[in-house]
Symmetry: C2
Subunit: 251 residues, 2 copies
Amino acid sequence: MITAAAVAGLPEIGAGDDLGELIAARLPSAPADGDVLVIAHKAISKAEGRVRRLAEVTPSPRAVALAAEQGGKDPRHVQVVLDETRELLRAERGVLVCVTHHGFVCANAGVDASNSPAGEPETLILLPRDPDASARALRARLNELTGVRHGVVVTDSFGRAWRHGQVDVAIGVAGVAPLQDWRGKTDSVGRELRATWIAVADQLAGAADLARGKDSREPAVVVRGLAQHVADDDGPGAQELLRPAAEDLFR
Amino acid sequence: MITAAAVAGLPEIGAGDDLGELIAARLPSAPADGDVLVIAHKAISKAEGRVRRLAEVTPSPRAVALAAEQGGKDPRHVQVVLDETRELLRAERGVLVCVTHHGFVCANAGVDASNSPAGEPETLILLPRDPDASARALRARLNELTGVRHGVVVTDSFGRAWRHGQVDVAIGVAGVAPLQDWRGKTDSVGRELRATWIAVADQLAGAADLARGKDSREPAVVVRGLAQHVADDDGPGAQELLRPAAEDLFR
């Protein structure tokens, strides 16, 4: 059995906050070896100061043109998206589908205005600069404070090709195997499982999202019962989940 | 808090089996209003007889050509995939990305050889003909046998554009809201959440998959703690999760 329980009562996060300490003081139950702390990236981005004030952004001619083309977006917002973008895959129907500098493919390069700090309506939240490094740092701090081994998954909500709606996926991972590879192993009747390569970290992200309300301040969720996926090593991180462009049939 | 617990001890499923009865007799705990039964489609496909014997398939010239082009696949297997396919989106590097007759976009139209009935190595498992109808029927039977209101989600493991690995997604839904729409609502600081349209049923599918082992016979998982997503009505089903081709930027 697995359980997912939100960390209740976290304060609004600001730059420089010690997230590990804030979370460790509010765990929903006594920590256990192999617990996975799943956290929405916005809390981490705020703690790391990965925010930009719209008033301080000067849009380039490209941002101004794109903003007009895509239904009257704020050109400054578009400029911030472009600043976070390595490659623009699509700009259609008001949607900018971007490859971020990390290699994630998502709308608006993960730049979002919602859940910005109170009283700062003109602030955009960016993805962490290196979400795997953020996950490793949070993991080290949590392990230090609780004395037990955790996994950490940093998440964002991504849309998908072909399907409506968004699901949370892993953008940073530490101490959890992002992918479980059953390829070449056999199933319950001895037959080879040929296409079974499970994105465990992404399923963890989605499971955790079910345990919180989007309108409550519950970025952090503890998932228990998956200690078999948690290791001493930090592991390859969410970078392992990225399909290289050369192998991708949909770019 | 949410929990996900596998239904242990199910026998190998065969055509005509009463899945609802088999599951109701083995629930991991006393059923509660709002429990969601998440089940891998293979169990349903087998109960519905949605299997094909390779020996009975005659490949068309198109299947023979495709099989050779794509690295020496079995032309009969390719024929079965084509029979389940409305539109072939990509045939590259040994991968057939198909739009199924239901409208799902996935590899090999969901046709799979793994976990076929013991002693029948040449059998392929298809997706249910109408997975939403399968979900509704299983729901009605479970509710009847347990006396409490369930939701049902039928799943398959799909690969994704841009990311490695597979996650379980919903291909049939009854009694659960597939999408939760927060668009136009406000967040914890009163700001509009503009891009928050959560594919609850897909996250349920992924969460349930974490609770079972791929090499054990545990197609069914009970997820508890999401009664707010379970309704009296069967609802729109997984069809609601399909993005129409005309709105899709990646076909």
